[in-house]
């Protein structure tokens, strides 16, 4: 059998960092074509009528990736309906006539569980290779989230148009090819100092807006019509708290994190309401306390 070519749905810039994980299961990787209007149209055409919008985007990514040559798809899971996306998407793609592998990530977050999961696909892999790759990806994810956070806060005030975007795309390029944690650390130091050196025309007390809500429409600019950039261009310092690293941190922490948030949200929420709901309320309340000028809540319909 030919070597598998894996692909997975887009969300923000994460594909660049996550793609090398394909090595773990001894596969080539095909980054799905960037999301366009066409992606959404394909996704919507084949999705259940009122499935929530991330489902349709993911399905569009899958179809475009398969058409571009992928033969194994990977879907994650969790949250409220996301955990069930994969099974329905696989059935839809089969009915459309695609003959592809479909890997549903269903592992826990413990190291032994991850190794066991990977060995199902790549039995001979060494534990140290798995650990190295995961540690490297983790470092990259953290750094990408950190850099994008800084960009969100200062891009609205750049003196020369496009300076942040140039820096960001060069940075992502380098990050995606970094092979060691040391390289990532060096990139981190460089990125921080370069970002700090960009000339800004920032008032003493700029408008600050926090975005909260459902993770996909928060993190995929195409799905929210680049609302973060829209705000920034109007002179707003944009704060977002939902990133993949934040989600993973919370997942590892589990119930403790939820119980802590509920102490704050008690006037509105006495109990955990699932998915991103509790966190959105918690962060909104914190932002009000911290004197933010506005909170923007994004969510998909359905």
């Amino acid at each position: 059998m030919s070597r598998p070519v894996v692909s997975f749905p887009h969300m923000g810039n994460y594909a660049h960092v996550l793609a090398p994980l394909a090595d773990l299961i001894d596969a080539d990787v095909l980054v799905a074509p960037p999301i366009t209007r066409r992606t959404l149209e394909i996704g919507a055409r084949h999705s259940p009528e009122f499935a929530c919008i991330p489902f349709k985007y993911n399905l569009g990514n899958f179809v475009e990736a398969l058409d571009a040559g992928a033969n194994v798809l990977i879907q994650a899971g969790g949250g409220c309906r996301f955990g069930y996306y994969g099974e329905v998407q696989e059935a839809i793609l089969r009915d459309l006539g695609y003959d592809c592998g479909f890997i549903q990530l269903s592992t826990g977050l413990k190291a032994t569980q991850i190794v066991r999961f990977i060995r199902r696909y790549n039995p001979r892999i060494r534990k140290s290779t798995v650990e190295h790759t995961i540690r490297l990806t983790w470092a990259k994810l953290r750094l990408l989230d950190e850099v994008e956070d800084i960009v969100r806060k200062q891009v609205g005030f750049e003196v020369a148009d496009g300076e942040h975007d140039r820096l960001l795309s060069a940075f992502i390029q380098e990050l995606s090819t970094a092979q060691s944690v040391e390289t990532v650390d060096r990139l981190a130091a460089d990125a921080r100092s370069e970002l700090a050196a960009i000339p800004l025309d920032k008032p003493e007390n700029p408008l600050r807006i926090g975005v909260v809500g459902e993770l996909y429409v928060l993190m995929e600019p195409f799905a929210n019509m680049s609302v973060e950039r829209y705000l920034a261009k109007r002179g707003v310092e944009v704060h977002r708290f939902c990133t993949i690293t934040a989600i993973l941190d919370h997942a590892i922490e589990g119930r403790k994190n939820i119980e802590r948030m509920l102490e704050t949200t008690a006037p509105y929420l006495e109990s955990h309401i699932g998915a991103d709901g509790t966190e959105s309320v918690y962060i909104a309340m914190r932002l009000i306390e911290e004197g933010f000028d506005g909170v923007l809540h994004l969510k998909p319909f359905g």
Binding site: E49, A51, C80, Y84, V88, L269, S271, I273
Partner: protein, 312 residues
Amino acid sequence: MTQAITVGLPRSLFYHKHEVLWTTLVESLGNRAVVSPPTNRTILAMGCHAAVDETCLSVKVHLGHVAWLEGKCDGVLVPRYVSTARKERECVKMWGLADIVRNALPDVKLLSYSVDAAGISHRPTWQTGELYRFARRLGASRVRAARAVLAANVAQARSDGARRRAQERLLARPADKPRILVVGHAYNLFDELVGVPIVDALEAQGCDILLSEHVPVRRANRLALRVSPRLYWTNNLRLLGAVQLLRQRVDGIVFLVTFPCGPDSLVTDLATRVLDDVPSMTLVIDEQVAEGGVRTRIESFVDIVQMRRERS
């Protein structure tokens, strides 16, 4: 013994699964249960008024019932269901139900308990334990609370068993009329405004009706997991299982969905993909559905089913 109180039971959502359980529990504790009337246009309007626009019809109906009970009881029972088994989940709207009601109708006093067998939001709790603690909170002694919970569980199991056996008997009879399986959540199937008119219309067209709610749960779940191993919603396991269990013994399947149900939006799609040659129809109901349109669709669906029966 503390003073007897009146417990309000909204005739919506979990009531349609726990009617006997709750009324038996409340009454054997020496309290009074007041149940809101079957859903009508006024109750729905009250619910829509209290709800945010984009929530599902079933939650709107629920809010209407809670609003109706305001001032007619000492507290309205709105429990919270996160998970009833370790590997199963309820829809997140059920996780948040007590909070939704509390925020939408701040003047209503709520009585609640929280079932989360998977321990996602707090230490694991099961329904029987939660009912016992609920009874204790109402002031019952240990013995009385335990007896009441036991009696309530037995009574509910009896009632479920009777309904299941009635459906078995129907299936055992010679199929002289077309048989239609109506698949939907109990709170939709048994709602006077949502499911009952559809079941009535199908019966008026000369069909025998089977309901997804009246199938044996364990067998249904097992069959559902065979076609959909990752399915985790308790209700949808039953729905998909009912389809698998009965699809070869019925002439047609009607999926009854309230708009915009998240779990159903995905699971109904999957269910129609595993049906090979059974005619099926999905009816999506919202607060603006016109009865005439639904009736026409039901009539033409029954026509198709009849024609296939005559041909074979």
